[in-house]
């Protein structure tokens, strides 16, 4: 499960998790998706980019 908030700044990044995943699966560029979702800081961006859903 993805952490609810960004570990560094506290932004609730998990709210964008499903949308991010579906848009990536459709072949969109992760950079553009994150910009569009308003995830601008690199601390928040790594939360979504580097997350591996294991169970």
């Amino acid at each position: 499960m993805i952490p609810i908030r960004c570990i560094s700044c506290g932004k609730a990044v998990s709210a964008y998790f499903d949308e991010y995943n579906t848009r990536i699966a459709e072949g969109e560029d992760p950079k553009l998706v994150l910009d569009d979702l308003g995830v601008t800081r690199y601390c928040c961006r790594r939360m979504l980019i580097a997350h591996v859903e294991t169970w």
Binding site: M1, I4, R5, C6, G10, K11, A12, S14, F17, D18
Partner: protein, 282 residues
């Protein structure tokens, strides 16, 4: 930097000006001019640590068949931002201001979560007894349930402050920086190294007038990359004493303007308690 004369002028701080640079639902950027950094820092610290908001504090788990441990689930629930603007928290009291022994409906809000698998349980499945105090985002995944697994719990939300736990911090990014000042001396040999070195596109070379121009000072992070590459030492980065660029970003639970208003209330209450102490002491 130590001020040249430490004597406090009569008019000092009284001509403070504020310009809003940009603003939306959960972020505000403004410029404060002619202010003291101690004052600006006090506002920043209170915004982060002493402005109350609502968050889940106690979780009573009736049933949890999922692979996630009860305490992990409770921690995740605590971090879910709940709407706590002035309108929603009007009648809610801080637990320490309430005269009840433990908890009562005047200082707590109850939320119920009941769901049967298979599927992902989202924050929208949290049903609140108060229609206004509810999760800010509906799409936060809380836990996963497999076939025939069930989760049933009652969560109690309370007002609290960031000093006690990060879940009660209304702000995410809350920071200020000095207003940058870029000076380019006449010794500039138009090598344009500084324009290339700047990671934020603050500088630009004007082909017509053959000189380096500052196009976006407020975006400058004062990293001094331009100063390091300048061989003639023509460029210098400084800051304007007393002018600040202030950013307040919230997690969506309280609008940023409201955070600032509440922070000023807390600060004036602190100042008032000093006054009453001094008057009582004399």
């Amino acid at each position: 930097m130590v001020p040249d004369d430490l004597e406090v002028k009569e008019e000092e701080g009284s001509n403070m000006e504020i310009d809003v640079k940009s603003k939306n639902d959960n972020e505000i950027i403004f410029i404060i001019r002619d202010a003291d950094f101690t004052f600006v820092n006090a506002i920043r610290r209170i915004c982060m640590m002493e402005v109350p908001k609502v968050a889940i504090e106690d979780v009573h788990i009736v049933k949890n068949d999922s692979a996630m441990f009860d305490e992990v689930l409770a921690h995740r629930l605590g971090l879910v931002p709940l709407v706590s603007d002035a309108e929603a928290t009007e009648s809610l009291l801080l637990p320490e201001d309430c005269d009840c022994d433990d908890t009562c409906p005047r200082c707590t809000v109850s939320l119920v979560l009941k769901k049967k698998g298979p599927g992902v349980v989202y924050s929208k499945d949290l049903v609140s007894e108060d229609s206004k105090i509810k999760p800010v985002y509906d799409t936060i995944p809380l836990l996963k349930l497999k076939e025939d697994q069930e989760v049933e719990l009652e969560a109690t939300a309370q007002l609290g402050i960031g000093l006690d736990h990060a879940k009660w911090e209304p702000t995410t990014a809350c920071a200020y920086k000095y207003y940058p000042e870029i000076t380019i001396a006449e010794t500039c040999d138009e090598c344009q190294n500084c324009v290339e070195a700047c990671p934020r596109g603050v500088l630009e070379f004007d082909q017509k007038t053959k000189e380096v121009k500052v196009v976006d000072v407020e975006n400058c992070s004062m990293c001094k990359s331009c100063v390091r590459v300048c061989e003639t030492k023509a460029i210098d980065i400084g800051y304007q004493e007393g002018n600040f660029i202030f950013l307040v970003e919230t997690d969506g639970s309280v609008p940023p303007e409201e955070v600032l208003i509440k922070a000023c209330d807390v600060l004036s209450k602190k100042a008032d308690s000093v006054i009453t102490f001094c008057e009582g002491g004399i």
